[in-house]
Structure formats: C-alpha cells, structure tokens
Symmetry: C2
Subunit: 440 residues, 2 copies
C-alpha cells in the first residue's frame, strides 16, 4: 500500500494495481459466464434515498458545493450524499428503468462505495464492492437463491486466495423457530445472534437478557444458533430441537435444498450455519456470509441474502437476491501477505533500445510495428549505454530488450539473445503479459 | 440514458453499458500497448489539496459525515472533498510514492470525477475521465510531448466515432510572441484567446480592450491566434508576422517537430492551431485539444498539456505531460446518436431451455458444462412453453437456445437448429460475445 496521509482510503502501487486488475477481471469473467449484465449507477444519491434504511445512517458522507451555505445545505431535504453500498442505488435504478429492463434482471456492478466511519484495522472509508443481484418483477423463484451461491463459490474459488466457505442460513428458520418457542422480538434476537462470532454465546445471552428475553428463550435461541453442517447434519439437529412451525419447515426445506444442490455443483464450499443472522431488516429468505480459510479475522468477504421488498413503487414489488464481494478488503490482504504478485509493474513486453537520440525515430518505428501486432512496447527513456537501458527494463520487469542496430532481441530474464524480424517475432507466451504468481 | 431524477449524473441501460465497456476496453488496450501502467487514486482529497489551483474552486463538492456539525465541518481545514480531475490527485500520488516509483513514470487512470456545477447540455456533474501522463524526476525530454499525442491519436481512432483532429499549440510560442510584441499580461491574453471559438475574434478583441490591451497588441495577438495548419504552413505564417524572440523560436522548434513527427506516425490527425490556449496556468509547453468531425459542438473531448511544476516537494520538481479523454461526454453522444450499438444486452451466448421445473437440474448441468468451457450460459427463467423460452432469449438478444431433451441447439437469429454435444459444441465466432455495430 502506498503511504497515504488519509487512513481508510487505500491506494496501491502500480504492481499492486496489476494484481487488483487481475482479481477484478476474474470476478467479471465469472459473473459474465453466468449471464449477469454489467451496469453502473451514479455514486451520488439524494439523502432521502440513502436514509430509507435507518440503520446505516451514521456512516453516510453528505455533499455540499463549496459556494453553498453549510447550514442551508444541511437543511435542504434534497441534499446529496455518497452511496454506502450498491444495493440501495440498484433498487432505485430498477424502479426508474423498470419499463426498459427484462425481468428476471441479472446484473453485476463493481464500484466504489464510501462510509464516513472512523477507520479501524481493515475497515476502509472508500472501497470497491462487486455485487450480483437477480431481481424479479412481482415474484422470484427460490432457485435463484441457489444460483447466487453457486456463482459466488465459483468466482471466489478462481481468485488467488485460500479456499472459501460460504455459510448460509434462512430467515424463515429463525423466524419460524422464534414463533415456535414463543419469541416475539425476532429483530432483537437477530441483532444479538449476529454478534455470536464476536462476543460468544455467553455475551449473546447477556445481551438477550438485557433486551428482556426469558432464560428459556435465550437457551433455545442459542441452541439453534449453534447448529452447523451439511444438509443431513442440519436436518437431524433441527429435528432434535423438537420444535414445529410452518415457517420453520418452509425455511428448512429451502436450506436443505440449497445445501444439497450446492454440494453437487460446487462441492465443499457451502455449509449451513444457523447463527448467520445478517443485521439488515430487509432479508426474508436465504442469508449468506463467506470466510477465507486461515483469514477468518478478515470477517465476511462476501455476504448477502434474499429480500422480498427492497424495491417497490407501491403498486408493484421487485423481490431479489444478491451477494456482494468486499474487493478492497480482499485485495488489501492479498497484497499485504503476498498471496499474489505480478511479474512486472508495467504492461510493456518489449523495451526498444535507443542507439542515440538522433536515431530515436528508428526505435519508435520498431515499437510502433510491434504495437500494430498487439505487442506492448516502449522505447528506452534515454539513449544511455545499453547496460543502463537494460537496467531500465529490469527495474520495470520488462522481459525483452530490442536492439535496433543489431536487429536482435534479448530476453533479459533467461539471457537468450536472438536475431528477430519485427514483422514476425513473437514473445514467448509466458512473457507476453504480466504474470500473476500465486502463493499456492 | 435512463430517466434519472438527478440531472448531470448519467446512467446507462445494460445495452448502453456494453457499448461503454467496449469503448473503455479499447482505451485501456491502446494505453497498455504503449507501456502505460494503470493506477487508481482515492476519490477523496483534503480540500487544501483540491484548492491549490484556485480557478476550479467553485466546482468542488465538499464532504461531511451525517453526524458532524455542518458549521464546524465547514471550518475544519482538513475537510475532505471529491476530486474534480485526475491530475491533482496524481500529482499527490507521485509525491507520496516517489521512492517506490520508477521514472519516467507512465501511468493511465480511468475514474469518475465530480464537479458541483449547474448541469448544462452535455455537462455532467459526475463523469468518467481517461488520463495518461508521463512524469519525470527533475526533467522530462520533449519527445514525450510527441508521444502522448501519438497515443491519443491512435486510441481515439480506434473508437466508434468519426475522425478526430488533435489541435496543438505551444505555450512558449504564445509567451515568446507576447514578449516580442510587448504584451506583459500573458495570462490575460491566454484567458481571452481561449474564448476565440466561442465568442469570435471581435468578442476576444473587446475583452482584451477591457483588460487594457492596446489596439496594436490586440491586433497582433489575434493575427497570431488565427494561424493554423501543418508544419510548413505554421512556419511560413509565423515568419510572416516578422516577430522574433528566443522563446518564440524554441516553441516554434518544438511545435514544428511535433507536427512533423505526428504526421509520420499518425497521419492526418494532428494539426497546429495557435489559438489553442487552455485556461490552466500550469501548462508550460505543448497544449492539446481534440474535436470530433461533425461533432464540434461537443467541445474538446481530449485535452491536456505539458507542465513543468505541477508536482513539487520543494526540493525536487516532477515535470509532466498528459492528456485526458472525457469518456462520459463521448459515450453519451455515441449512445444518443447510435454511433455504436450492441447486439445484445447480456453477456449470455446460450440460454438452456428448461423442460419442466423438475428437470431444471439437468439444464443447470448443461449450462455449467458450457461455462466450464468458457461459454457464457444461462438457464431459462421459467419452464414455460418452448416458444416462450425462445422469446425470453430473443428479448435479451441471446443468440442460441439449447434444448436438453432433443440434444439440439438452435440459433434463433439464423433459425438453424442442429444436434449438439455439450463437450464439444462451439458457437459461431460472431455470436460468442456481444457484437458492437458501428455507424461507419
């Protein structure tokens, strides 16, 4: 990471950006292989739009033009702010363009988002998210909840990181179970259970007690939240709870179905975990979190869920399901731990040496001829001694140096030097583009 | 463009985004062929950094956290704002990372920028710029001023737009000429001449008079500003002015050199135009503007220049030269006039039909097998009648529909239907990816 005077705003050196671009390209490819169309939404939304979900309000950056009066700007109900996720803007985009879109609408969106919070370790105030969502017009069949997990499992498995685990739960299970055991404050229960990872069962129990949950309810909820495993394990443990409700059974049906299908299509990556709560109110079905093996302290790097009514114009509702990758958090870890590195910090494959400044035009002609054939080329910045020009290539990781007078090209990594014709010469495949080495 | 309730913040429909991505990809490829490395800088800078150039101060968006007091935030000297170009953040990035970068540093940067101005026709408050800059440590040879023009000429000529003209001038000519004719207020002269396109010679003359320029000086300046053409034409017209100064000759030498070299390397795209002034104070050598034939009313879609001291840490100066493409303005015109259109609005090549919901898994297996071979596939959203499933493909522009039971695939554009094996079938090349049709 570059030394930046503003914490929470990550920037990479050119060689880090090569790795980030590699990761972004893998993500895009994976999404497109599965038929997701790309869109971008503006970075700026009216505050009224951003505040529809009260919960995240404290993390928003508001905008004012330099010439505007600060107090008047703050009182203006049409004041603008930076988006803090890609879901809220997407909901607005769907409503605005519903007449022009084809449903179910499968889109991906890779953009920066901003949160005006105090930065902590690994928490950024500006970061890139990569989201997929599938939105239906009026209804959306359950199989799409399987689909997004399958896509994300494949995409994340294509990245230069250790194996990932997508942990899934279903809101209907939690809600149905609450009904069965007589808990009415489902939101309160969800908020407490969401902290199980951080503060443990005892801490969650205490918080529930503070919210007025009876001892029996607390025990029952914690019992449920400790259930984990594959389809069969989840089934038998939930059966052992001996609780029944229609909603619970519906949720169980969906969760078992999801676990069974994902085990077939992306084996070993998806597991059930009834502690997964996800804070946001609007989830109504499957919820997802993702951890990277050995990097659990990163938190969830890909989360989301099913929502029945995020987008609605009053008459019509657009249910959806989506997941979001925290790209910057992931890239930051990959770079910090050297999980992937680039063979060079420039795209250049060939540096054409310059014999003397009077003959720079000749070197330009060679570079242009290579570029015309799709080979990234550059001319040496100085007509210095060839040893220095080779060093200029080496500093940037450029593998080939072309000598115009000799009509020869040298691979400065292998040391091989051969005669070459600019009209036909090809680099060895492994040197054509920057290579990403991974830590596996 | 999608109907958006906020003017000045462009958003595209998925089919428009396909065209934009095509244009962005052409730009990236062109930059990388010429050895430019990609970086991104954060969108947010301290206001003190943004205001170093006073001129654009009125167009800045300032930020405040929702919980912050508006008045206190406005008084905080460390207040943050959104960047309004990519040059100022790049200068900061170079200074912060000077120890880790290799000079001359050639970078490209494609990001959104924001200007808090009232939107006019074609003026956006949020838009994408694509910049190249070459920055030296202490010094930067003139040939890089030729290089950026060559790169931009090639990149812009690869886009689905009519032929472009890069118009160039050299600040040393303007300044040297001012010296020769006794004009001391060079900045004032530049500001007035910059409006020649908009208000004509008469208007510029009037503005100069208001600034106190004598009649003779006004005439001399307007005479110079009307000089246009290739190397020989510029040379003879400037000679006819019969003015001499060392700086003028230096600038003429550079301009002639640039016009001669570009005429050889990118014939017919670069022309001299001594009216090009560019408002910004920091340019010190070549300045560039670019118009699209038949779309002159778009204004300049790619501008920039040579600057000797944008980045400096007091001890050391980093001179540079750069140009910036106004991508959103260009894309907006391309979409509005249909200069390029996409054959489909999804990446999907094959829609696998679903015989009935009980057999969806079979369709998923076919889609997964195609994806594993790099072919973008999707399953039909509903197990409706095949006619309806074909219609679902047609609505999205998906060229192929796969029928699992029959083991056949139909090209719904040509109508051809053939037996197909999922392990070996390949789409016709022209249907593999969305095709961009251009208006040429």
């Amino acid at each position: 990471m570059s030394k930046t005077s503003l914490s929470g705003f990550p920037e990479w050196l050119p060689e880090g950006r090569v790795v980030e671009n590699y990761i972004l390209q893998k993500i895009r490819q994976g999404f497109e292989l599965h038929g997701f169309a790309n869109i971008e939404t503006r970075a700026i939304e009216p505050v009224s739009e951003l505040l529809r979900k009260g919960e995240t309000s404290k993390e928003i950056y508001l905008l004012r033009r330099l010439q505007e009066d600060p107090v008047k700007a703050a009182e203006d109900p049409r004041q603008l702010g930076l988006h803090f996720d890609l879901t809220v803007p997407f909901a607005r985009y769907v409503l605005e363009n519903r007449g022009a879109l084809t449903f179910p609408f499968k889109r991906y969106q890779i953009q920066k988002v901003w949160r005006g919070e105090r930065p902590q370790d690994g928490r950024f105030r500006e970061f890139t998210q990569a989201d997929i969502d599938i939105v239906g017009d009026g209804s959306l069949p359950f199989f799409h909840e399987v689909e997004v997990a399958v896509v994300m499992a494949r995409v994340l498995s294509s990245l230069p990181i250790p194996p990932i685990t997508i942990r899934v739960n279903n809101r209907k299970i939690v809600q149905g179970y609450c009904e069965a055991v007589g808990v009415t404050d489902v939101e309160g229960a969800l908020r407490c259970l969401d902290k199980l990872d951080k503060i443990g069962a005892e801490g969650v129990g205490e918080e529930m007690a503070e919210l007025g949950f009876a001892e029996e309810a607390r025990e029952k909820l914690l019992q449920m939240a400790q259930i984990q495993g594959d389809a069969a394990q989840i089934r038998s443990q939930v059966d052992a709870l001996a609780c029944k409700s229609e909603l619970l059974e519906e949720g169980m049906g969906e969760l078992i179905d999801l676990l069974t299908q994902t085990e077939e299509r992306v084996p070993g990556t998806v597991t059930g975990d009834l502690s997964i709560a996800r804070g946001l109110d609007y989830y109504t079905g499957t919820v997802y979190e993702t951890t990277v093996t050995g990097h659990e302290n990163l938190g969830s790097i890909c989360s989301g869920g099913r929502y029945d009514s995020l987008a609605s114009d009053g008459k019509r509702t657009y249910p959806g399901v989506g997941m979001s990758i925290g790209v910057s958090r992931l890239v930051s870890r990959v770079l910090a731990e050297g999980l992937a590195t680039s063979s060079r910090k420039v795209p250049t494959c060939v540096l054409v040496a310059v014999t003397d400044e009077e003959h720079r035009a000749e070197s330009n002609r060679i570079a242009d001829a290579l570029r015309n054939r799709g080979i990234s080329a550059d001319t040496a910045p100085k007509a210095a001694k060839f040893g220095k020009q080779i060093k200029a290539a080496d500093q940037r990781g450029i593998p080939y140096v072309w000598f115009p007078d000799a009509g020869e090209v040298k691979n400065i990594i292998s040391g091989d030097q051969t005669e070459a014709d600019v009209a036909t010469w090809e680099p060895e495949e492994c040197y054509a583009k920057p290579q990403i080495s991974t830590d596996n």
